[in-house]
């Protein structure tokens, strides 16, 4: 299917390649920024908490999208790499007294390096076998965290300071919301651009047919490891934001099942699409919140057990429904809506 921008002809290559290409898009971006700036003035603590957690999830899912959605290397150990980032930042800030701003890039780098190490099997194996290798990565990382008790606090976890600039500490919900949203916007910008680079195109070629890609001269080992590195850098940033938000680092913040749900977010949002990663993270997190509120009502109406595992059930159901009816995810639906309105009021017929 071809979706062209109607009435918007480009006179130069640079204009066509620009990140934001129309006035309308500039308008949307400005509108989004205004909403993000104004929102904490009106929103409750709960809404800010939910939005902050959604923002962190978006960063993490962007990383998984680069690795799995674009490069086709399925990982179910993503939360393990978040733990690497989280604990690196926690140790650097809490034990060595580093500033959050210095610890954050180091945490991202540490997660990236862990990704490189655990990405090595991807050079030899793929599909189901790679999934198993990434699961192993998660458990090895968590095991290491538990064993190095003197450094990580082991199962008891460790307190982590809040980020600060000079004397200003990101202590309030609103301030942390701004911090997370700024990083989320940056992460989205980089994720969109990575795909348009030479490496990004190589990722897509490897995903579509690795043999053909290799024949075309793409060095599989290099690009697969690059995808692992970049994807895990994102995970590291998300992990660091998690521990600083809670002001506490604990292995309980990085449960294995979250890796599965992050993959579910990609399925619901649409793999291989930056917008899809955002849609997926937002929709599944909001579903989670809705289910939390619905649970007690259902429980009062039926029985306490009726609410048990409701969230797991709903998440599973939604993922299954999307896999069957819309495997290309919400991002595809969004493209259709955009295409419909692009030529509005004239009807638009799909070429295929």
């Amino acid at each position: 299917m071809t979706l062209r921008l109607a009435h918007n002809l480009k006179s130069a290559y640079a204009l066509d390649m620009a990140f934001i290409r129309t006035r309308q898009q500039w308008g949307w971006l400005l509108g989004l920024l205004v909403v993000l700036v104004v929102l904490p003035l009106f929103a409750s603590d709960q809404i800010l908490t939910v939005l902050t957690i959604i923002g962190i999830a978006i960063i993490s899912v962007h990383g998984l999208n680069i690795l799995t959605g674009y490069c086709g290397q399925i990982s179910i150990g993503h939360v393990g790499f978040m733990a690497v980032g989280g604990y690196t930042s926690a140790i650097l800030t809490a034990k060595l007294g580093w500033s959050f701003w210095a610890a954050l890039p180091v945490a991202a780098l540490a997660a990236g390096v862990a990704g490189l190490i655990f990405g090595l099997p991807s050079l030899k194996i793929k599909g189901f076998y790679l999934i198993m290798a990434t699961i192993a990565a998660h458990f090895i990382i968590i095991w290491l965290v538990l064993q190095f008790r003197t450094i990580t606090g082991g199962p008891d976890g460790m307190p982590v300071p809040k980020p600060a600039i000079g004397s200003f500490v990101f202590k309030t919900k609103a301030s942390y919301f701004y911090l997370v949203m700024a990083i989320t916007l940056l992460a989205t910008f980089f994720a969109t651009n990575i795909v348009r680079t030479r490496a990004g195109r190589a990722f897509v070629a490897i995903r579509d047919n690795d043999l053909a890609a290799e024949v075309m001269g793409i060095r599989l080992w290099s690009y697969k490891l690059q995808a692992f590195f970049v994807g895990c850098v994102y995970a590291g940033v998300a992990g660091a934001l998690v521990v600083h938000y809670f002001a506490f680092a604990s292995v309980d913040q990085f449960p294995f099942m979250d890796s599965v749900w992050y993959l579910g977010m990609l399925i619901v949002g649409g793999m291989g699409s930056t917008v899809g990663a955002i849609f997926g993270a937002v929709s599944l997190k909001l579903l989670d919140e809705a289910v939390t509120i619905v649970g007690p009502i259902l429980s009062a109406a039926v029985a306490p057990q009726a609410a048990a595992a409701l969230a797991l059930f709903m998440r599973g159901l939604v993922i299954a429904v999307f896999l069957i009816f819309e495997p290309r995810g919400l991002a595809h639906g969004w493209e259709l809506i955009k295409a419909y309105f692009r030529l509005w009021p004239f009807s638009f017929e799909d070429a295929d």
């Binding site: 506490f248 306490p304 797991l312 259709l336």
Partner: protein, 458 residues
């Protein structure tokens, strides 16, 4: 228009409708519960003698109140999804029953004379946190915005995530988890059974009392591989064990919910000639562990003599029926609750509550006892706070300082090992530990030992 396009549009419409339906349900208010039939006692004169007769009266809706009663909430976060699902469901049921009892009678327990304020209604407010810290955080914010004055902790992950926040906000909370992390330093989370290290010290005291050999008994940890299980590894407990004459051997870990029998860990105990294994586990962990122990012919009355004792999240009342008398023989729990057939007034009250409010679907899980204790403690904290501040002006800090901290010798009718006392820095409500063992298919109380208060916080 192509069929493909129509399918996509239909799908989008369905997704949209589902979202609208979810929001609509979320905003809906649950219907008011119908009051159950009540038994009314009347005095009548029969043949010149006054007699008390009981009449079943179908409750009629009460007349509309002149002013709406003030509402205070109890409960907080629950973990109806995950490893603690069964415990949480039983606890929630107890909260609901106790709230009904207080609202109907304005009493706090049959053996207590104090009354709950007549113009204040107790409601249960809760959410399922799935034992996930990030979910607990948004739930906490939501309930705080709804003017929840007390809170509850459903497990160690939630305690670790929320303990500093609760302390900062000066919110008092009851906790189903009782690790030493609550004491470093003491914050605003209160326990109603001893912390795990004190449970294990009591088991060690009991075992040592009954040790007949001249050599030192050898002790090791066999504990859950999570924050709860590892929380017993404090130097103070090891020092205490050595002080009372044990030889400490080491530690082995079992997943919280094992997916395969912990054979390697148990064989390690055997090879190292361990006499007493101590740990903290929940039933889904202790049951398969003990089953494997029996298979390896390990136990107090088996080929290889070893006693296995755990802290209270593993319940004998669940363990015994699940395992059967033979397999369960000899297992020990410290800090456990009473059985449902115990004659203590608290247990009679508990059974009466269930008979009244859930006659056909009684909760048989022992954590109903824990839930009733938590509900009693939270309600007592609210009642005490309302003695100094009116209900509509109460803040969480009032309930903490004039409620929780003022709870002294709260008589729980025997539901807890001793009456409950709290104060600033004193978050462990009881000062004695029950030690129970399964002997010949029965839960036998083998002693009540002092809570040693081993963990030395700053």
């Amino acid at each position: 228009m192509s069929t493909k396009r129509t399918t996509h549009r239909t799908f989008l419409v369905i997704v949209g409708l589902a979202i609208i339906a979810l929001i609509a349900v979320a905003c809906a208010t649950p219907p008011a519960p119908t009051p159950p039939p009540q038994i009314v006692k009347e005095t009548v004169v029969v043949a010149g003698t006054p007699q008390i007769v009981e009449k079943v009266v179908t409750a009629t809706p009460p007349p509309p109140p002149t002013s709406a009663p003030k509402v205070v909430y109890i409960s907080g976060t629950q973990s109806l999804t995950g490893a603690y699902a069964e415990d949480s469901a039983a606890i929630l049921a107890a909260f609901e029953d106790y709230a009904k009892y207080v609202n109907e009678t304005k009493l706090l327990a049959p053996w207590r004379t104090e009354k709950f304020p007549a113009d204040v209604k107790v409601e249960v407010l809760w959410r399922d946190d799935e034992l996930k810290p990030e979910k607990a955080l948004s739930i906490y914010d939501e309930l705080k915005a709804k003017n929840m004055l007390v809170y509850r902790i459903s497990g160690s992950p939630i305690a670790l995530a929320l303990m500093d926040k609760l302390n900062e906000d000066r919110v008092g909370a009851t906790s189903m988890a009782t690790g030493p992390y609550l004491l470093s330093p003491p914050k605003t989370i209160f326990t109603y059974y001893p912390i795990y290290t004190d449970d294990l010290a009591a088991i060690a005291d009991w075992f040592k009392e009954n040790w007949k050999e001249t050599r030192k008994p050898r002790v090791a940890y066999l504990t859950a591989d999570n924050a709860m299980g590892h929380s017993i590894e404090i130097p103070e407990l090891r020092a205490y064990l050595e002080k009372i004459g044990y030889e400490f051997v080491g530690a082995q870990y079992v997943p919280l919910v094992p997916t395969s029998p912990p054979t390697t860990q148990l064989l390690w105990l055997k090879e190292n000639k361990v006499d007493l294994a101590l740990g903290v586990m929940i039933n889904p962990g202790s049951q398969p562990t003990y089953k494997e122990m029996v298979r390896l012919d390990m136990g107090p009355n088996r080929g290889y003599k070893i006693t296995f004792g755990t802290g209270t999240p593993s319940h004998l009342q669940v363990f015994l029926p699940a395992m059967g008398a033979d397999l369960a023989e000899g297992y020990v729990v410290g800090g456990g609750f009473l059985g449902f057939d115990d004659p203590a007034p608290g247990m009679k009250f508990l059974n009466d509550l269930q008979t009244k409010y859930r006659p056909t679907k009684k909760v048989t899980h022992v954590m109903y006892v824990g839930g009733l204790l938590e509900a009693m403690i939270q309600t007592e904290a609210l009642r005490l706070a309302m003695q100094t501040t009116p209900a509509d002006k109460l803040k969480p800090v009032d309930v903490l300082e004039n409620g929780f901290y003022k709870i002294k010798n709260l008589d729980t009718g025997g539901l807890s090992a001793t009456p409950i006392t709290y104060g600033p820095g004193k978050i462990e409500g009881v000062n004695k530990v029950r030690v129970d063992q399964i002997q010949k298919g029965k839960i036998v109380n083998v002693g009540l030992y002092p809570a040693r208060g081993l963990y030395k916080h700053e």
